[in-house]
């Protein structure tokens, strides 16, 4: 009954989405308040039903009901409970159900917290949201139905792909989807604005919290995915320029640009047409990412979705939504009124530069990801565009972006003073030069670019701090006053600082890891000692262990430095009998923000084992940076500015009184 009730709930959600996508929009056209408010209740009911459906699938996985094909194909009765649950979205059907659940969740959030929106904008935005939902409900029900049953239920399931049986998978896809799907809200708002033919500064403020939220989750999702690849795939790499990774990076770059251009729109009523375009493009890239991953056009380490028949359906969705929205844009954008003017050297100008560089970077990633696919379609030739292409194109775009980054917040709106901003960045510049000089002296003979890159990172970090110091007049006022001023700063300013700081921090991690990473690949027998970067790793013993649904071979290492033991590391290899696959579980030891990384290779007949040992200096900063960025986003989200006009129902009366 659970399976069938879940199935039916999904069908009901489709019916509600159909109503949500038509009636409120008709209502908005005819200015009929009752029809417009329908958007709210249908969005909430849709959320409830898709929630029931999702919970039903979770329950089926937990109870190992193998009469459901999806459970049989991706679960196993011996799997630990946590992986029974995460296995729900570790497969194509379940992950699409998660996708629409999150879509409905965002629709529900707009319905609940959208009291500050004009009724017609809310109706139209939720209507557009309904279109997207309808398309994906149909996709799920017709091509990837997770509730299909097996007439003769097998006794045991086929187990989840072992690579995915990992805590990282518990959080990575939901985070990523919260980001991907979150951008559907800015998309819906953009389409709603185009349909109404009216857009202004207030729109930017209404959209901002949703964009921020999506951006935050996407940032965390990408960082988490990168960390998962780092420790689970066993090669010590954290970014592979894999098409699936690029698919998540593209909406992030476009979303970051959107976040910044929306600021200009909100403050100055300018860049409106561009912002709407970015909102459309960001979600289109999210859809494209979903298409790339879900249609199986790629074969990569993210090998858990390969069914080309579904590709056509997603391609259709892609064409309808991207093509349709861009056509609407081309048709209506000219009717949108242009806003304020500004000089090239100004906060607006800096943000335009940011947008140009970010979108160009996004375009290079787009080309690098899709060119091989296009070539394969046209000529049948398979090529891969790897790190060299991206390093050559991405880096030259990011260097000016990072150089300009500290200037932006220091420039005034409308007409800025570059010399003045530069003057205030003296300290940051000097700190960067000192860092370059020191590093150069210390690592003489090493890579010449690394100290420069780190200097750039220091410049970004100190620049971000300078902005806050300037605003709170630190060093110019007595300390207590400065602190009070700092507390009084808008949270958005603090958010900006943390986010920009995060960029610098991540850059340090990236440069250090790629430049001074030491690696040792060797074959060890018990008793052997390997030396890496001043650490000695002694292989004490190799032992076997039986896990719940896998067998595990553990290698026990004692790590010492200068003769003093500092800890033990036990990397392992797990073999999963059901799928006949094995995974490597790397052992990580953090020393400050640097890490030692040990992963196991094959066992030789002599009992020796191949071992890869890496010392990765500052590697944790790579993920610490995005955490800071997301924290900045959170601070910004809590800014009182964004709560304006969203009175709690009880306080609504006060909001309606004239303020004058």
């Amino acid at each position: 009954m659970i399976a069938e009730a879940g199935h039916y709930a999904l069908v009901l959600a489709l019916a509600l989405a159909l109503i949500q996508s038509t009636v409120p929009m008709i209502g908005a056209r005819l200015r009929d308040p009752a029809l417009m408010t329908l958007a709210r209740s249908t969005a909430l009911a849709q959320l409830a039903f898709v929630g029931i459906s999702f919970m039903a699938l979770v329950a089926l996985h937990v109870m190992s009901d193998f009469s459901v094909a999806n459970v049989y194909e991706n679960s196993h009765s011996l799997k630990p409970l946590i992986y029974k649950i995460t296995g729900v979205w570790g497969n194509h059907e379940g992950s699409m159900l998660l996708w629409v659940s999150i879509l409905a969740l965002f629709g529900g959030l707009v319905a609940v917290f959208g009291n500050n929106l004009p009724l017609s904008l809310r109706a139209n935005a939720l209507g557009v949201q309904g279109w997207v939902s309808t398309a994906f409900y149909l996709f799920i029900l017709l091509t990837s139905n997770p509730f299909l049953r097996l007439a003769n239920p097998p006794l045991e399931g086929r187990d989840l792909n072992p690579v995915l049986q990992d805590p990282g998978l518990a959080l990575h896809p939901p985070m990523l989807y919260l980001g991907y799907v979150g951008f559907s809200i800015s998309f819906s708002f953009a389409i709603a604005a185009l349909i109404e033919g009216r857009i202004d500064a207030a729109w930017a403020r209404w959209v901002r919290p949703w964009t921020l939220m999506a951006w935050m989750f996407l940032t965390l999702g990408i960082a988490m995915g990168s960390y998962w690849a780092y420790y689970e795939l066993g090669w010590g790499g954290w970014w592979f320029w894999d098409p699936v990774e690029n698919a998540s990076l593209m909406p992030w770059l476009a979303g970051t640009a959107l976040l910044h251009s929306a600021v200009v729109m909100e403050k100055r009523n300018a860049l409106k047409v561009w912002t709407v375009l970015l909102a459309i493009l960001t979600f289109s890239l999210s859809l494209l990412g979903t298409f790339l991953v879900r249609s199986g056009v790629l074969t990569s380490v993210h090998a858990f979705a390969t069914d080309p028949t579904r590709g056509v359906f997603i391609l259709l969705i892609l064409c309808v939504f991207i093509g349709g929205s861009l056509t609407l844009y081309a048709w209506r954008a000219s009717s949108l009124k242009q806003g304020g003017l500004f000089a090239p050297i100004s906060r607006e100008g800096a943000l335009v530069l940011n947008n140009l560089l970010l979108t160009t970077a996004c375009a290079t990633v787009f080309i690098g990801t899709l060119y091989p696919l296009g070539l394969e379609v046209l000529t049948g030739e398979r090529i891969s565009v790897g790190a060299p292409f991206f390093n050559l194109t991405f880096a030259p775009l990011f260097v000016p972006l990072l150089l300009a980054l500290p200037f932006g917040p220091l420039l005034a709106w409308k007409r800025g003073d570059l010399a003045g901003a530069a003057q205030r960045l003296y300290a940051a510049g000097i700190a960067a030069l000192v860092a370059v000089a020191v590093l150069w002296a210390w690592t003489r003979g090493g890579a010449a670019l690394a100290p420069l890159a780190i200097g750039l990172a220091v410049f970004v970090i100190i620049g971000a701090l300078t902005d806050i110091a300037e605003r709170s007049m630190l060093f110019r006022m007595p300390l207590p006053i400065a602190l009070r001023r700092a507390r009084g700063l808008p949270r958005a300013s603090w958010g900006t600082m943390f986010a920009h700081l995060g960029v610098g921090v991540a850059l340090i991690g990236i440069v250090c890891e790629t430049t001074w990473n030491s690696e040792l690949i060797s074959t060890l027998k018990p008793g052997d000692v390997a030396k890496v970067a001043g650490y000695e790793l002694k292989l004490d013993a190799i032992s076997q262990r039986q896990g719940p649904n896998y067998g595990e071979m553990l290698a026990h290492f004692t790590v010492s430095r200068d003769g003093r033991p500092i800890g033990a590391m036990t990397p392992s290899k797990r073999s999963f009998a059901t799928r006949g696959m094995s995974t490597t579980e790397a052992a990580l030891m953090s020393r400050g923000v640097s890490q030692l990384y040990v992963s196991l290779g094959d066992t030789a007949a002599s009992g020796a084992i191949a071992v890869r040992i890496y010392h990765k200096p500052m590697v944790l900063l790579i993920w610490f940076g995005p955490l800071l960025m997301a924290f900045g986003g959170l601070l910004s989200l809590s800014d009182r500015r964004l709560r304006v006009g969203a009175p709690k129902p009880a306080k609504a009366a006060r909001g309606l009184q004239p303020a004058e």
Binding site: R31, D32, P33, N115, A605
Partner: protein, 377 residues
């Protein structure tokens, strides 16, 4: 709670969600306004001045700009919303009342399987499932051997178990590994041959026969190898040779040997054939395994499967050549039912009817027998 009740409840919920806002008579909805945003922006400028973040002149310019937007927005908001149209609301209500159940019900009945109950692990565990725990044991041993692929004794333990649960290919591989890492023996060679025969649906292939011959070379008294060599001879159409092998086995066998009845039954079968039909063509058909199957209780499942298979295939071949044997056809059909191959049973039924088309008495007898087997029709 029956499934239909739950589905109906959910449908009502969905319809209610649509009807509810329609029913509330144009209650003034709390609605956000653009002017609220601009008022707040003005307040923000004031806060910024108080905090000293911007200068007076910039603040004045900002106020002018925001004020202009505020006035425009306030003008646009003046127009009061028209009242809701009753006709439209009724139309939407009808759409919801009819459309939601029809669409959801129609789509669900096409896609869903409402008649099928849940089948969670907990209820499966209550059902006797000895095989499952055996599967788990096998999986554990396999996992162990994956890590220690050179553990020949482990392979030796695993191999016959795999054969017993019908995983003949895996069993053959396991026997080969056992031989490679833990030495050759007649038992293992015979086991390998049996697994190969099992994988070939009971046919003692040349490869399997070679293994049995090797087993006999290692230990001339290996019972299983000799039995299967006999079976091979029988399948090759040399019943006399088979009878000789089996008779020799029985002569030397201790009186309480567990395999005695099996070989005796096989011999009886062969003997009947050999005596009744020296030329083998117009032979009376061999008895199907009733007797042999009883004797085979002591055999491993692999043995039994191979034995039954061999006999059934042979019977089918014979009937194809000479089809006017009602009893034979019935035995064949029953055998396929026992082997859980209803399609083949039906095919046998059709073949039999064709073969006996001219024989009215035989046909009636056949139909009665088929009725008893439950494959009439």
């Amino acid at each position: 709670m029956s499934l239909w009740f739950v589905l109906a409840l959910m449908t009502f919920g969905a319809i209610f969600a649509v009807l509810w806002p329609l029913g509330r008579r144009a209650a003034r909805q709390p609605e956000g306004r653009e002017s609220a945003v601009y008022r707040d922006q003005l307040a923000e400028v004031d806060r910024d001045i108080a905090a000293g973040l911007i200068g007076e002149t910039e603040a004045a310019a900002a106020r002018v700009e925001i004020g202009r937007r505020l006035i425009a927005a306030a003008d646009a908001e003046e127009a009061a919303a028209p009242p809701s149209s009753l006709r439209l609301r009724r139309a939407v209500a009808v759409v919801a009342l009819v459309g939601v159940p029809v669409l959801a019900g129609g789509l669900y009945l096409r896609l869903g399987t409402p008649a099928m109950p849940d089948f969670p692990l907990a209820s499966r565990m209550r059902a006797p499932a000895g095989g499952q725990s055996l599967d788990q044991l096998v999986a554990q041993v396999q996992a162990h051997l994956e890590k220690n692929p050179t553990d020949g004794r482990g392979w030796g333990v695993l191999a016959p178990v795999l054969g017993r649960v019908g995983r003949f290919e895996d069993a053959a591989q396991a026997f080969r590994n056992a031989i490679r890492y833990d030495g050759d023996s007649a038992t293992r060679r015979a086991g390998l041959g049996e697994a190969l025969a099992g994988a070939a649906n009971g046919v003692v292939t040349a490869e399997a026969k070679a293994e049995f011959e090797r087993a006999v070379a290692l230990d001339a008294s290996d019972v299983r190898a000799r039995y299967f060599l006999g079976l091979a001879a029988e399948q090759d159409g040399r019943p006399k040779e088979a009878a000789a092998i089996w008779r020799a086995m029985l002569d030397k066998a201790p009186p309480d040997a567990p395999w005695r009845p099996l070989v005796a039954a096989a011999l009886a079968r062969i003997g009947a054939v050999a005596q009744a039909a020296p030329d083998g063509a117009s032979a009376k058909l061999p008895a199907l395994p009733e007797g042999a199957a009883a004797a085979a209780q002591g055999m491993s499942e692999g043995d039994r499967a191979a034995m039954i298979r061999g006999m059934v295939d042979r019977l089918a071949t014979r009937l194809k050549q000479n089809g006017d044997d009602v009893e034979g056809w019935l035995r064949l059909a029953r055998a396929y039912m026992v082997l859980n191959e209803p399609e083949r049973a039906h095919a046998a039924r059709d073949d039999a009817r064709r073969a006996l088309a001219a024989d009215e008495v035989g046909l009636r007898k056949l139909n009665e027998g088929l009725k008893a087997l439950g494959i009439d029709g």
